[in-house]
């Protein structure tokens, strides 16, 4: 009987299906960690707070826009007693 040569097949250590399964499990674990961290994040590490710290003018501009939208929302656009909104000098509305 002629000996049959065993085919040299290289099986991957982990099949594609199993890879997908592992990746899904990792994704689940990552999202679970993110959800667990909700409400526990230190404000200093919040990316939004960090960016505002670097550019405080943005906060002033945002606050100003918020007040403008509020005045439109509550129909106070023509009120004379409203405080005057002054943007941070030279950054928000640079003069041409």
């Amino acid at each position: 009987m002629k000996p049959r040569r065993k085919k040299d097949t290289k099986k991957p250590a982990v099949s594609r299906g199993a890879n997908q399964h592992l990746s899904q499990r990792d994704d689940c674990a990552r999202v679970m960690r993110e959800l667990e961290a909700v409400g526990k994040t230190c404000p200093d590490k919040d990316p939004l707070v960090e960016q505002l710290r670097k550019c405080p003018e943005t906060f002033v501009a945002g606050e100003m826009l918020g007040k403008m939208f509020d005045s439109l929302k509550y129909n106070r656009a023509n009120s004379e007693n409203d405080e005057r909104l002054i943007p941070p000098a030279g950054i928000v509305f640079p003069l041409v």
Partner: protein, 362 residues
């Protein structure tokens, strides 16, 4: 003038407060374990995460079909009572911890018009006992998910208002016309046991040839299966579990019906419903149609079981309403056919329905 506004990159369009995000995160973790939410739903906000899972569940179970007929909302809230924005903020300022309970609230903002008269005639031609079995089973299934304004509700309303009035006063009134409006095929059969009605439908279905009657019975049996094992969660069922709910419901001015199940448009039942709807909600807020509570402060396993049951309830509600919508659409077609024939025979123009009762939105 050149306007430059500083831009912060990588910031989401919507931010929720800690009071919203924390309970949503607890809910989200459980929904992720249950497979209702998936990792792909995560975009940085727990509220958005839950919303995506919830919307997908609604989509899969047929919310688009539901929207063709029913008008209302299914919501998950952290408060049971109607509150203004200010009241909500003031309430939150007083508590340090986020909500430990969430509420599933479902209510109908409009009553879908279901003129069943023409359908009953079609069913009667197939079998004389079919109309009663169909009516009883259909009403029973709808009542699991909504308040149904029907012949019984109109009769009660008419009887109360006829109580102290003289016969002369009632000569031109609609109230004495409500009771006799009951079609002959339903007389003495409205008290039929819904289970018996369903068994009659099951027995008759194979004998019906391909027809509208067969389609209606098949959809109704499907609706029966979707709603089997569920009951209506009226808000008063939670009175002992939610402090203050009793007082709130006392102040409420009723519950808005999900549908008007009458014989024909503009009939005495419709007139009674219009009359009641004119005043409902004037003396207080409307109570929710369905109210269920979610306790977030439970151990993981218990919370998952609780939410699994709750979301299966929501899915069953949507599947049932989608199935009921198919039935209502056939009924409306039959009614429109009846109207066309009736108009040709009588030569009288038909009146259009009240727009708010035939509004097809959700």
């Amino acid at each position: 003038m050149q306007v430059t506004v500083p831009q912060i990159k990588g910031i989401r369009w919507r931010y929720c407060e800690r009071w919203d995000e924390e309970p949503a995160a607890k809910l989200g973790m459980s929904l992720l374990r249950l497979g209702i939410c998936s990792p792909a739903d995560w975009a940085g906000s727990a509220v958005d995460f839950v919303e995506r899972g919830f919307k997908r569940l609604a989509q899969v179970n047929g919310i688009d079909e539901v929207r063709k007929v029913w008008e209302g909302d299914i919501r998950i809230l952290d408060h049971t009572f109607e509150q203004s924005e200010r009241e909500r903020y003031e309430g939150r300022a007083e508590i340090d911890n986020s909500a430990q309970s969430l509420f599933l609230v479902a209510d109908f903002s409009g009553a879908a018009s279901i003129p069943i008269g023409a359908t009953l005639s079609v069913l009667e031609r197939a079998h004389k006992r079919l109309p009663a079995a169909f009516f009883v089973a259909f009403r029973h299934c709808l009542a699991k998910w909504m308040l149904v304004y029907d012949y019984d509700a109109a009769t009660e309303h008419a009887e109360i208002l006829m109580c102290d009035r003289e016969a002369a006063e009632l000569a031109d009134s609609i109230y004495p016309k409500v009771a006799p409006s009951l079609p002959a095929c339903l007389r003495d059969r409205l008290t039929m046991n819904p289970r018996y009605a369903c068994s009659l439908l099951r027995a008759m279905q194979p004998k019906l040839g391909p027809s509208r009657a067969r389609d209606l019975v098949s959809h109704l049996l499907e609706l029966w299966n979707h709603s089997a094992g569920y009951s209506h969660h009226w808000p008063h069922r939670l009175i002992r579990r939610i402090p203050g709910l009793d007082d709130y419901l006392e102040e409420c001015d009723g519950i808005g019906p999900g549908c008007l199940l009458n014989w024909y448009e503009n009939d005495p039942i419709g007139a009674c419903c219009d009359e009641e709807m004119e005043y409902i909600g004037q003396n207080g807020p409307l109570a929710p149609c369905i109210l269920r509570v979610i306790r977030l402060d439970r151990p993981k396993k218990n919370l998952d079981q609780q939410l699994g049951r709750l979301f299966e309830y929501i899915a069953a509600m949507i599947r049932s309403l989608a199935c009921a919508a198919k039935i209502v659409e056939i009924m409306r077609e039959l009614y429109d056919e009846y109207q066309r024939q009736h108009r040709l025979k009588s030569g009288l123009p038909t009146q259009s329905s009240t727009p708010d009762l035939r509004d097809e939105q959700l």
